[in-house]
Subunit: 436 residues, 2 copies
């Protein structure tokens, strides 16, 4: 069968990994795909560095547009990242009738609706397994492996940097700032870590998974993002004493009222397998009405794991290159005319249980005041512990609540903070049993 | 698009689940598949019971051949099990040019080479996600999601009955026979549990995964099977004291010499996520050269989880019904003319580390004798503990070894058993760190 020509835009760590995998496993891949897959042309501003990564038999150019406009290229792989020039290139590739494989979560979460519509018009495929959870084939699992299910919710540890930091904070009892420095030294965190630790990256990935799981368009602009930079080491420790681990979770759930779409630090029971996914590993727990729960775990980043997903997409696309669109899996799992928008719930309408840490003056009546305010807002208490009195007469009260509307939790917290006997802000973390 | 007609053979628990899922999620499934999928005809000897399970709008017949020969049926679902009449029916369906979806691991592990060859000749698909690990989309992951990888090994907890029994033995410190009774009462084990607890079922599933992972034919007849019925509660307990859990593992590994294909109780470090997969859950840990390790976890049996896999296969097949074979994923992941047989290693040539429990007379020199015999066979000791002396002057010695050829371990064990100071047989369990 005719070999497939790949044009690669962006030859950095992952691009080098793609070149390595295509070369190293060429025989194995062509035995599977039934055709040879050749990296033909690659682009990077620094042509010399790109050449070192892709080898002498690949044409290297500085201008990525030379890749998308190259007549021999069947599949364009976009590994540039971001949503400016990458967007222009992907749209140009589509306009040229080329299929696209991308690892660009931001591009899809923010501009996916437009990109998939254009791809649909031109009858080309845009594949993006590598955009979510690195090497873990979670897009394929959601889109094809679980296609019999009405997916109810999914929860993912989908940012390796944050998971590394949280794992270290727990293990060493260290604070965020110290562990961040360690992560930066190890190359697990960027110099400016905002994108990872404030939940943006997880939000992009969650947005993509929600679209596929529920058959809705991308709604990144409505995704709630709360990161881990404000997390105190002591809350991780208290959570652990109560039998919970704290993870930065991306969580999306279909309810009668709409779709929850939220990223935030979350207490998870330590018996849950996903609570024990540590370090830079990723994991996604999916709940479907037929399968029940399934967990997918593996490396969420890195040159070769990400290349594993990129090349799997290339093989998939290569197989269907000359096929009727009806033989293809729809981009967003559901047929394009069958996407149905659902409202994304504002956080006030989300239902969760909560971990609250309250700094109170240790005197008679304060506990009564707090529990009364919770009760007045319809919040039942699952556990309450007092963490001893400080020399200044203050005490820490930690409360785990049952499930309640977030707006009720907010109201109770505001009322508690207004008490004379309470100092400063109440620390509030969300908690999910993940057993529904 | 034209609706797809399904003919279902075998309406038991799983068949009822398939009917339920197809009906309950009809809208969601057709939004994904782009066509309606209708259960048209079903067969079971007891027509009345089948009718109750599939509903009034499905034609029910007693004779399964009426399903495979029905002119309107596009896809035949085989849920009869076993490899006698089921084989005849599947081959007849293929001869009739019908696509097949089956959950029948035994049929494929034993007769898969013949069945896939016939399917290839007739240009029809035989899909079998439900044959391995129930609802977990592991066949799809191995065949498509990890297609960029040279798969090095995989290890699976792929028999829920055995995993339930082992989990209970550990948790309650109970013996095999007692827990088996409990499992039978709960419906987790058959009246005759041999198929599950002696490793046959796991061997079938492992054989199928090995074929897909390495591009080799089915070799069930060469799969080593050792079950859990001889396992003593105390070995589970000692293993735990040493930081290990005992799981019935199906393990296949590609080595320079050939392929390891083996099912046996195995010590796994408790830090491994897969060591913490308990109860009837299944899990498969895959090691590929690009992805590193990925774990897939979920329910390995049950009506709806298995139906989840059956219906996902139906959707896949429905999409490609009218396609060129070149657009399809090959049955065994590799193109049929690209399967390359590799020798299956006899157990003597397998490399493993070992847990040994030796009943010895507690006197000077016995430890020296044992360690000398291990050394003479090239076996280094990782840990050695003596479990105290009994009233009769005997002592239990538990040894963990480093990795060594099994034939060397066998020779050492035989020599140790021949010592005057050693009573009875040495208990030998294999041990895998799963970190390679």
């Amino acid at each position: 069968m005719k070999p497939i020509n790949i044009g690669l835009m962006g030859v950095g760590t992952v691009g080098g990994g793609v070149a390595t995998v295509l070369k190293r496993n060429a025989e194995e891949i062509s035995r599977r795909a039934g055709r040879d897959i050749r990296l033909t042309i690659a682009s990077r501003r620094n042509v010399e560095q790109a050449r070192e990564l892709v080898g002498a038999d690949v044409t290297v150019v500085a201008d990525a547009f030379a890749v998308v406009n190259h007549p021999d290229v069947d599949i364009v792989v976009e590994l540039i990242g971001g949503d400016t020039v990458a967007k222009e290139l992907v749209l140009q590739a589509i306009a040229n009738g080329k299929h696209v494989v991308t690892a660009n979560k931001k591009l899809l979460a923010v501009h996916g609706n437009e990109i998939f519509a254009r791809a649909q018009e031109k009858g080309v495929m845009v594949a993006f397994e590598a955009a979510v959870a690195g090497g873990i084939p979670i897009i394929k699992a959601l889109r094809e492996g679980l296609s019999a299910n009405r997916i109810e919710w999914l929860a993912g540890i989908i940012n390796g940097t944050s998971n590394f930091i949280l794992s270290e904070m727990r293990e060493k009892g260290a604070d965020f700032a110290d562990v961040l420095k360690e992560a930066q030294a190890l190359g697990y965190a960027e110099a400016d870590p905002t994108f990872d630790v404030e939940g943006h990256d997880a939000g992009h990935k969650l947005t993509i998974m929600a679209a596929i799981a529920f058959g809705i368009p991308m709604h990144f602009d409505q995704c709630y993002l709360e990161g881990i930079s404000q997390l105190a080491g002591k809350d991780i420790q208290y959570a652990e004493e109560l039998g919970y681990r704290v993870k930065l979770l991306g969580l999306t759930r279909r309810t009668e009222q709409g779709v929850e779409l939220r990223v935030h630090p979350t207490l998870i029971p330590e018996q849950q397998l996903i609570a024990n996914v540590n370090g830079v590993m990723n994991a996604v727990l999916v709940r479907g009405d037929a399968i029940g729960q399934a967990l997918f775990n593996g490396p969420g980043a890195g040159a070769l794991p990400t290349a594993s997903a990129v090349v799997a997409d290339i093989v998939d696309v290569a197989r269907l290159l000359t096929s009727d669109p009806e033989h293809r899996v729809p981009h967003l799992a559901f047929q394009p005319d069958q996407l149905k928008d659902l409202p994304i719930l504002p956080m006030g309408d989300v239902v969760s249980s909560y971990y609250l840490r309250i700094q109170a003056i240790d005197r008679a009546g304060v506990m009564a005041d707090i529990t009364r305010l919770l009760a007045e807002n319809g919040i039942s208490i699952e556990a309450l512990i007092q963490k001893g009195s400080a020399a200044d007469g203050s005490a820490e009260i930690v409360i785990l609540t049952h499930r309640v509307l977030e707006k009720a939790a907010n109201a109770a917290i505001a009322a508690i903070e207004a008490l004379d006997s309470v100092a400063g802000k109440v620390v509030r973390l969300r908690m999910e049993e993940l057993n529904g």
